[in-house]
Each structure stands twice: as structure tokens, then as C-alpha cells.
């Protein structure tokens, strides 16, 4: 047997050598061709059967080329040793065993010897693969879960809210009279809305005066309807999510797109309720304020008293719409009634009769007539509950999961355009982070309850804004993902409560102003203090909302000044800050914040007292809340 290495193949070319030379050899400048196993077998002079076995085994390992070559060279050496030892090829092949088994075992062992970096790389890809498969499975579960649920809407909130109004006979509904007023309303000239015009209190020497008077005259018929409507006990406004064709706002139809629940055309979501009446009441109030100014100029006491009563009547009617925004508008209207009374007591203290003053004081003190809180938050929870029933499934035990239909409705509410398919695909994932129904409800109730309890406390006991906890939660990223539905719907309790407290202070100061005016009529001079007015003209001296002490009263040059110490909590003897029109002196800040502001260059805005009477010169009106 010839054991000398031989080869029938021609010598490989340089290109082939280069292709079959490991990089490590090439770096050393050697073209070894070591990766050409077939050539190595031939050159070793192995018999064909063994050559085939070596090639088959090496190929079957499916290792890297370098590793395969390494194994092949070792097997070649092994079989050459065997042949040199006098074994026949058949004996050697038999002793070798199963080539495929060998290949499998060699592959497993060789891979163990590979570098750590490779092992980590493979581990990384395996992990990615596993993660990908797991993610796809998870997504499928979420997708099925998301698309198989359906909301169960048990409550028709608009029907429930409308029941009291529908029980009022048509002829007793003030709203029908207001509609006549709205139809007869003539919009003021645009120039009157300019800040410089000081609408609605246009002074006699103003260049806008004629325009204002023309507007007022054009609206006299409308105002008559308003007076008649405001004198009626019940509003009877039927809540709806759309502008009816026969409504006075039909021209707004193009601007307002109703929020429907496509599956329940007869049970629309409460969040879609439109309240255009709120803006209308504000418009009429402004006209009545302008007319009151004229009534003062013309010493027309009955007209003036009627106007103020009508404003208070509209404020009362506004509260029949049981929403937070309605209560805030009612506060704004009642504040305007206070303003008119104060202007009258300041400019024409003898104009209104004692009977009128007493009657108006009672009306003011009795507002709101329903004896409920001035700002109510219950309806906010009803709107939230209604939204939950449309977004979540209902397991009958108060819990449920988010549904695709619910999220589509939510997109409609938030004015988002039709969802692109990509986002639809992501919805099952993004909504998976949302809290379940019961957790969502509990979190909402917890935040609202804490904030409301804090808001109901007297302002002087506040150490921080009642809505601070809500703000902190809403600004937290993780919280926003879990309670996204709450974030956009939770009421600004802190701001609403501050508005309520500012209103009560204004109302109390107005009642005190009426009391000192009546006192002067009886004694010939303003009282030196308020104590003597109790209980004949005042049931009690109201508190200063900023420190809880009795509301401040003093006489400056014989004229009465009613004031609160203001946000700096410092009694400045009735001196206004430099820019009283900014009203920053009446806006609550914590003690620390106020101290910091007093130590800053901006201290002038709060350094002084909040003078409640006499009234400040009129300032341009702010946009009505209903327009927000």
C-alpha cells in the first residue's frame, strides 16, 4: 500500500489558494490553502473510501470553514497513522464509527471551544429571537383581547339629566323665552369689543359711546324677553349634543361637530353636551350692565334694580345646568351683579331705595337658591362614569377592560382625525398600559375626593393648592400612561375653588357695602366700624378669606373702604397695590410663595390690600368661560 501523499489534481491557482487560505495564515504572508479539505485528502494519499468519510464527516459538522478544515486535517492525520500502523481502510472505517454521529458530537464540542464574544453574540440573537416570539404572542393576546370586548352602556346620562327639565310644562320653561331673546339679539359692533372700549361700561366721554347706545337700543326687545325669562322660576333647558335646526344657534352648526356614540344614536355621550346658553347669558349680562350704567346716569332706580335682579336670575338659571362650567359662569354672572350694586353704592349711594337694597341684599345672600355648594363637582363624576361605560367592558362587578370601540370614541372626543392604520395596530399595546375600569374609577374618585375636601376648607387654612395632587399626578409620565383617560377629564378643582372663594369675598363685601350705606342713611354718616351693624344690618361680620379675621373696614377721608389684607396677608390700611387692575393681590398663593414674591422685584403687584369697595374702574372683560 502506497502511503506517500499523492494528488492527481493540478496545483491550485493563486486565486483558489487565496480563497482557501485562513485569514490568520494570510496575515502572516502565507497562502496555505488549508481550507481546501478535498485537496488535503488527495495530497495525503488516503484511499477513496476514507477520503469520502473524512469529507463527509467534516462537511456534516456544519462548522466554520476554519474549524471544518481543522477537524478534517486531524482526521487525515488519524487515518494516515492507522494506515501506517498496518490497518486496512475497512478496519479503520469500522473503528471510526458513525460519521454523522461523530459530526454531531464534534460540532457540539467545537462550538464549546469558540470564543466568549461569539457565544455572547449568539446568546444575544437567541434572546432577541425569543423576545420577538414572546412579543408577537403577547401582541396577539392583546389584539384578541382588545378587539373582542364590547362596552355595555346601561345608563343614558343625557336622558337622566333632562328628566327634570322635561317635567316642567313647556309654558313654564324660561328657556323658551330666552330663545326669543337670542333670536332678537343684535351683535354689538366689533369696535365695542376692543380693549380700549371698556365694554360694557362705556363712559359718557368715550368715542365708543354712540355705538354702545345704538347697540343697547337695538337690543331692547331682546332684553325685555331676558327680563321676563329671568323672572321665571325654572329654566327648563333640554341638554343635547347638537344644535337643532330650529335653535337660535343654527348658524353655529358648521362650527360644532357633535360627538356621537355610533352604536347608540339615542344615547350620546354626556361629554358631548353643548352649552351655548352660557355664552348667551354672558352677552345679555353685558348689555344689562351697560343699561345699569345708563340707569345710574339717568337716576332710574327701578330699571337699575330690575337689571341687577335679572342678572342674578340668569345666574340662578345657569345653575340648572348641573356642570362645573355652569357653576363657574353663574359665579361670573353673580359677580357682575355685585359689581353693579357696588358701582351704584359708590357713585349714587342714595339712588336705590332701602327696600330695593334690602331686597337685593337678600337675593344676593340667598344665591344659589338651591342651597347647594356654590361650585358643585358631582356632575364631573357622572360625565366620567359615562365615559367609562362607553370605553370599558362590564364584568358585572364594576370592572372591565378597554375596548377598541371605546378607544375610537375617545379619539372622536379628543378631536383626533380618523386613526391611521399604524396607530390602530399599536392601540392594543398602548391601551394595555391603561388601568382597568375599577382602578381608573378609584383613582379618579381618590384624586377628586382629596381635592374637593381641601377646596371646601376656608382659604386661609390652605397650605397648598387643592389641585396640587392632581397636577402632580397628571405631570407624572407613568401615571399618564396608566390613567390617560383621567388626565384629560379631571376638573381643575384648585382653580374652581379659588374662584368660589373670591366670589364669596366679593359677595360679602357687597353685603357689607349695602349695610354701611343703609347705616349712613339712618345716622347721617358712615359707621366707624362694622361691629355696630350686627345683627341689625349684618348677620355677622364676614371673614377675610386670606387670614380668617373679620373683613377689614376703614374710613379714608370720610369715604368707606372695605378690603381684605390680600395675598401678602399684611394689613396696609386699605391701600391698593400699584396695579390693582391685575387683581394679583386677590389670587391665592401659599405663604412661602407670597413671601418669595414680596422679596422679588415684582412685589408691587401684591404689596397692598385687596380693595373690595369702592370698586375699581372698569377693566376690559375677560373671555367667557363657556367659550373656552
Amino acid at each position: 500500500m502506497n502511503n506517500e501523499p499523492t494528488s492527481d489534481r493540478p496545483s491550485p491557482g493563486v486565486v483558489h489558494l487565496a480563497h482557501t487560505t485562513p485569514l490568520s495564515d494570510a496575515i502572516q504572508g502565507r497562502l496555505t490553502g488549508r481550507l481546501d479539505i478535498a485537496l488535503a485528502c488527495e495530497q495525503a494519499g488516503l484511499p477513496p473510501s476514507i477520503r469520502e468519510l473524512v469529507l463527509q464527516t467534516a462537511q456534516a459538522t456544519r462548522l466554520w470553514r476554519v474549524e471544518r478544515a481543522d477537524v478534517a486535517h486531524e482526521l487525515i492525520a488519524h487515518f494516515r497513522d492507522g494506515i501506517e500502523a498496518g490497518r486496512t481502510p475497512d478496519e479503520l472505517i469500522a473503528a471510526f464509527g458513525e460519521s454523522l454521529v461523530a459530526a454531531r458530537l464534534i460540532r457540539r464540542a467545537k462550538k464549546q471551544s469558540r470564543p466568549l464574544s461569539w457565544k455572547l453574540w449568539i446568546l444575544l440573537w437567541k434572546s432577541i429571537g425569543a423576545l420577538l416570539i414572546l412579543s408577537i404572542l403577547l401582541y396577539l393576546i392583546l389584539f384578541i383581547r382588545y378587539h373582542t370586548g364590547s362596552p355595555v352602556v346601561k345608563v343614558n346620562p343625557i336622558a337622566t339629566l333632562n328628566a327634570p327639565a322635561l317635567s316642567i310644562p313647556t309654558e313654564e320653561r324660561a328657556w323658551n323665552r330666552y330663545k326669543l331673546a337670542i333670536s332678537a339679539y343684535t351683535k354689538p359692533h366689533d369696535d365695542l369689543m376692543l380693549p380700549g372700549a371698556q365694554w360694557p361700561h362705556i363712559p359718557a366721554d368715550s368715542p365708543y359711546r354712540d355705538l354702545a347706545l345704538a347697540t343697547l337700543e337695538a337690543n331692547r326687545p331682546a332684553l325685555e324677553h331676558v327680563h321676563a325669562a329671568a323672572a321665571m322660576p325654572r329654566l327648563g333647558y333640554i341638554l343635547s349634543i347638537q344644535i337643532e335646526p330650529d335653535s337660535p344657534w343654527a348658524n353655529l352648526g358648521s362650527e360644532v361637530s357633535p360627538i356621537h356614540d355610533p352604536d347608540r344614536p339615542d344615547n350620546p355621550p354626556a361629554i358631548g353636551i353643548l352649552l351655548p346658553s352660557l355664552g348667551e347669558f354672558r352677552k345679555f349680562t353685558h348689555l344689562l350692565m351697560l343699561d345699569s350704567m345708563l340707569a345710574r346716569e339717568q337716576h332710574d332706580a327701578p330699571r337699575l334694580a330690575r337689571n341687577i335682579r335679572t342678572i342674578l336670575g340668569m345666574a340662578q338659571h345657569t345653575r340648572e345646568l348641573p356642570f362645573l362650567i355652569s357653576d363657574l359662569v353663574a359665579i361670573a354672572l353673580a359677580t357682575n351683579a355685585c359689581k353693579e350694586l357696588q358701582e351704584t353704592l359708590h357713585q349714587s349711594p342714595d339712588l336705590l331705595s332701602e327696600q330695593d337694597l334690602a331686597s337685593l341684599a337678600h337675593s344676593l345672600a340667598a344665591f344659589p337658591r338651591d342651597s347647594d355648594e356654590i361650585v358643585r363637582y358631582a356632575s364631573e363624576a357622572s360625565i366620567f362614569d359615562d365615559l367609562l361605560q362607553r370605553i370599558y367592558t362590564d364584568d358585572g362587578r364594576g370592572n372591565g377592560r378597554v375596548t377598541a370601540k371605546g378607544i375610537r370614541l375617545l379619539h372622536t372626543i379628543t378631536d383626533e382625525p380618523d386613526s391611521p392604520s399604524a396607530r390602530n395596530m399599536l392601540d392594543p399595546i398602548s391601551t394595555a398600559m391603561l388601568a382597568d375600569r375599577i382602578s381608573m374609577k378609584r383613582e379618579y374618585e381618590r384624586l377628586m375626593a382629596e381635592a374637593i375636601v381641601a377646596a371646601r376648607k376656608p382659604l386661609w387654612t390652605w397650605t397648598n393648592d387643592p389641585g396640587e395632587q392632581i397636577d402632580a399626578s397628571v405631570s407624572d409620565f407613568v401615571w399618564r400612561q396608566r390613567y390617560a383617560i383621567i388626565g384629560s377629564l379631571i376638573a381643575a378643582v384648585g382653580k374652581a375653588a379659588a374662584s368660589e372663594h373670591r366670589y364669596t369675598q366679593t359677595r360679602d363685601a357687597t353685603l357689607v357695602a349695602i349695610a354701611i350705606t343703609l347705616s349712613k342713611r339712618r345716622t347721617g354718616e358712615y359707621p366707624a366700624s362694622l361691629e355696630g351693624l350686627v345683627p341689625d344690618l349684618l348677620p355677622a361680620i364676614p371673614p377675610d378669606i386670606f387670614d380668617g379675621n373679620p373683613l377689614r373696614y376703614t374710613l379714608i377721608d370720610g369715604s368707606p373702604v372695605i378690603y381684605s389684607v390680600g395675598v401678602d396677608r399684611k394689613d396696609d390700611g386699605g391701600r391698593s397695590p400699584k396695579n390693582p387692575g391685575s387683581l394679583r393681590v386677590s389670587v391665592w398663593l401659599s405663604g412661602e410663595q407670597a413671601t418669595a414674591l414680596m422679596a422679588s422685584p415684582n412685589r408691587a403687584t401684591i404689596d397692598g390690600d385687596w380693595v373690595l369697595f369702592p370698586p375699581l374702574p372698569p377693566t376690559p372683560p375677560t373671555p367667557p368661560p363657556a367659550d373656552n
Binding site: 486535517h73 467545537k110 464549546q112 471551544s113
Partner: protein, 124 residues
């Protein structure tokens, strides 16, 4: 007589380590020495031996190097320090197993002739 595969799985690696304790060897040499020195008991096919060698190398118990013997490239294997420690540990365990087998009457008292057997675990 060859031993069962399960027994071989435990005995094979320690036998290979033992053979490499004194000198380095190449694959075919290891095959022959295993067969002759164990009286054929620990003879193993190369389809088992080479994967075992690669596995031992992967664990760092042995190390290989290519050498040219008379223009014949051969891959030689030698024991590493880690391999020596493993061999010492395995030898001790095997001795305990043999003693237990003797105590149970499964293994007889070794004849004096086999005391010098390189794979008996005693002094070489």
C-alpha cells in the same frame, strides 16, 4: 469486553486525562493506548474520542498544538494545570467508587499485577 456507554461517559474523559498526565499524545496514539492499556475495556471509536478531546479542550482541561513529525502534521494534546486538578479530583472519586464496589463485593481485590496498571489510579 467494552463497557456500557453510560459508564464510558464517566470513565472516558478521566482515562484520557490520565494518559496525557505524563506526556502529550496525538489522536491515533491515544486510541491505541486506551485500547491496549485498558485491555480493550476502554477502547472507544474515534467518533467518540475526537469529540471528547474537543470537549475537554473546550473546558480548558487539555490544550492542542499542531506539530510536524517527519513532515507529517499531527495534533498533539497535553494536560493543562486545570486538567491536572480535574484529574486529581476525578482520580480520588474513582478510588472511592472502586472501594465502595469492593466493599459491596462487586469489584474484587485487585491482583498485584494490576497494581502497576497506569489506569488503576495508584502509583505509576
Amino acid at each position: 469486553m467494552k463497557v456500557e456507554r453510560e459508564l464510558m461517559r464517566g470513565a472516558g474523559p478521566v482515562a484520557v486525562l490520565k494518559l496525557l498526565e505524563r506526556q502529550e499524545m496525538y489522536g491515533y496514539e491515544l486510541v491505541e493506548r486506551l485500547s491496549t492499556q485498558s485491555g480493550g475495556v476502554l477502547a472507544m471509536g474515534q467518533s467518540t474520542l475526537y469529540p471528547m478531546l474537543y470537549a475537554l479542550e473546550g473546558k480548558g482541561l487539555i490544550k492542542s498544538v499542531w506539530r510536524d513529525d517527519a513532515e507529517r502534521p499531527r495534533r498533539y494534546y497535553r494536560l493543562t494545570d486545570k486538567g491536572r486538578k480535574r484529574l486529581a479530583s476525578d482520580t480520588e472519586q474513582w478510588q472511592r467508587v472502586i472501594q465502595a464496589m469492593q466493599a459491596l463485593g462487586i469489584a474484587g481485590t485487585p491482583r498485584a499485577a494490576s497494581c502497576s496498571h497506569p489506569l488503576a489510579g495508584g502509583a505509576a
